[in-house]
Symmetry: C2
């Protein structure tokens, strides 16, 4: 029996996507081979690539002056790849709002000067630093912001307008763990990147969406396979792309397009559903004196909900009970402990309802 | 109906591997989730990783003082990653035996001095330069050799012993397109790398097998995600690995272990079968005055068999007829033209027999 899987990533996929992939595994559309076996240069795979590219462009309303790149290496590779492509060896501003932006900050030091424009470290990363307080360097090559901190459960719900903050530098967002969960205001973004393994598809695929005018400035030591201009010029086929992962991402895009909620469809529908899911879970935590979420309410993530049992000696029993109830991978990241429920696009409302019921029952019987 | 798929990569997978993957897609071993959905840190995926690692180590008899790394970016990324890790900014020798080693040679120039120790370019890459003729620099950080040139169909059948050639430098082999097709003499190898999409599994996974004493010398600008020492220290989980591709590779390893041929098993069995397949096809070409293979007999690849029709005006008809006969992706690489049959491990003897029958029939009716 399928369980409800709250993994932070790689994460649950829509069941109907997996079922279709299984059906098509040995013979895609009666072409005599499975998708994994297709040449990336053949007409069959090119049609899959083009459809996936178009669906992603549609779903996120990506303007024509942005390039959509399918790459490899995940967010951690991008921590080096972004500064190799955009820093020009100059200075870069970082907003440090959790573990991921901190990692990005450290890695970038290999390629450029870095400055912490803001940091929430002193409060244990429990809020997103207010944009009006960021100390922005007008000469910076770009500003780096992780718009959803997967480990700390801190989300930026409104991409800041750097021009309104007085600087004319491109904003780079790491939106790995909430990509495709809501629309994006591309007027405020220079580059967005995401590892696929939360809301897009299998681990190993990396999505980069970059404004064309930022291409072509890579450092000489940037590997060709990670040079955005080269990757863009070759439609993500400079090296062999992760073809099967692109296909799976394509099935997820088609699933997203079919979603409806409250007369909405596509990304707006999934956004509405995600808000219901998050509200249900945060309300249950807030109304309890047994569980606790420590993130400032305005910064709480719709995708990753870390929470603690006040009595942490019950953690192991909680996890075992959850597993027995078909609720998997709820253990918090080792760096922060406690629990974490990742409730990405593919998690149905019923999964969150089952979690809340279990939490209430556990509280009742453990007390 | 499944066809015989001669793609150079991504390439045919064993049917029973695909069928098992389809069966397990939504619920692996009744754990409630599919492999794509598992946390890479969870016990389920760790068990898959460990089994795959062990099976690969067994199949290729990798000694304990080598590290097996599962990475991303393919061979083209490795063209930068290898010199970033091993060159120490010094000088590197390249044997240029075809398109792939030529690409490696060009990319490495970003990170080190390069020297062509030998080149077969003047004869159109129709043979592997004889090791005794290589002009090796005793001070080189390493020697790079592509042991199977996928495009030109040139294979090195016996890894050279650099010590016997008078230098004590590590040999780096790009064995992407014939990995797991035969045993490897690890005494002669410092590092071997391979994109997965020929004989291992889905595109996007990259295999690196490296002698431990070569770790820890990466250039400062090497991205952490591609620093072999860091990747080795974290058992290929410094960044989220391409989990599903590792699982598929694991199923391929188990399939390989089950293979038998002429009282042989595993890699020796597949080697014997591969030799029969290649012999059948090369014999058919050599005995015909209609088809031609231009590679020196001692350098012919067991995996990639490029061939030409003497009358190239028949190329399109040949390809259409082949497709109608269920023989796919036989078009040669655009840089060399003609035809190419890639007959990797997963291609059964029956596939080569069907190709030879078609070729003979086409010759008979086209003449």
């Amino acid at each position: 029996m399928r369980a409800f899987n709250f993994s932070a990533g790689p994460a649950a996929m829509p069941l109907e996507v997996l079922e279709l992939a299984a059906q098509e595994m040995t013979n895609w559309h009666d072409c005599g081979m499975g998708v994994m076996e297709m040449s990336h240069r053949g007409r069959e795979f090119i049609s899959i690539y083009e459809q996936t590219h178009q669906d992603l462009k549609d779903l996120l309303a990506v303007p024509d002056h942005f390039k959509i790149l399918f790459m490899q290496g995940g967010g951690i590779a991008e921590n080096a790849v972004v500064p190799m492509n955009l820093s020009r060896g100059g200075s870069v501003d970082f907003v440090i709002s959790g573990s991921w932006s901190q990692k990005s900050f450290v890695e970038a030091q290999k390629y450029c000067q870095v400055q912490a424009a803001a940091s929430a470290e002193s409060d244990g990363f429990h809020h997103l630093p207010e944009p009006s307080t960021w100390r922005l360097n007008p000469q910076a090559s770009y500003v780096h912001l992780c718009t959803n901190e997967t480990i700390h459960g801190v989300e930026c719900h409104d991409i800041p307008d750097l021009k309104a903050l007085g600087v004319d530098t491109p904003l780079v967002i790491d939106f790995s763990s909430h990509v495709l969960a809501h629309p994006v205001d591309w007027r405020r973004v220079g580059l967005a990147f995401a590892g696929a393994q939360k809301n897009i598809g299998p681990a190993g695929l990396t999505l980069v969406i970059v404004r064309e005018d930022l291409l072509g400035q890579a450092l000489a030591i940037c590997p060709s396979a990670f040079n955005y201009a080269l990757v863009a010029k070759h439609d993500s086929m400079f090296n062999t792309p992760p073809t099967y992962s692109i296909y799976m991402a394509g099935l997820v895009m088609q699933w997203l397009k079919r979603q409806t909620e409250d007369d909405l469809s596509g990304v707006l529908a999934i956004q509405a559903r995600n808000q219901k899911k998050a509200q249900l879970l945060y309300n249950a935590i807030d109304q309890s004196s047994f569980y606790e979420n420590r993130v400032a309410k305005s910064s709480r993530s719709v995708m990753n909900v870390p929470f603690y049992l006040h009595d942490e000696s019950l953690n192991e029993r909680f996890l075992q009970g959850a597993k027995a109830a078909g609720l998997l991978q709820l253990k918090g990241h080792k760096s922060v402990g406690g629990m974490r429920a990742s409730i990405y696009n593919a998690m149905p409302l019923e999964g969150v309802q089952a979690l809340v019921s279990f939490m209430q029952e556990f509280e009742r019987t453990a007390a």
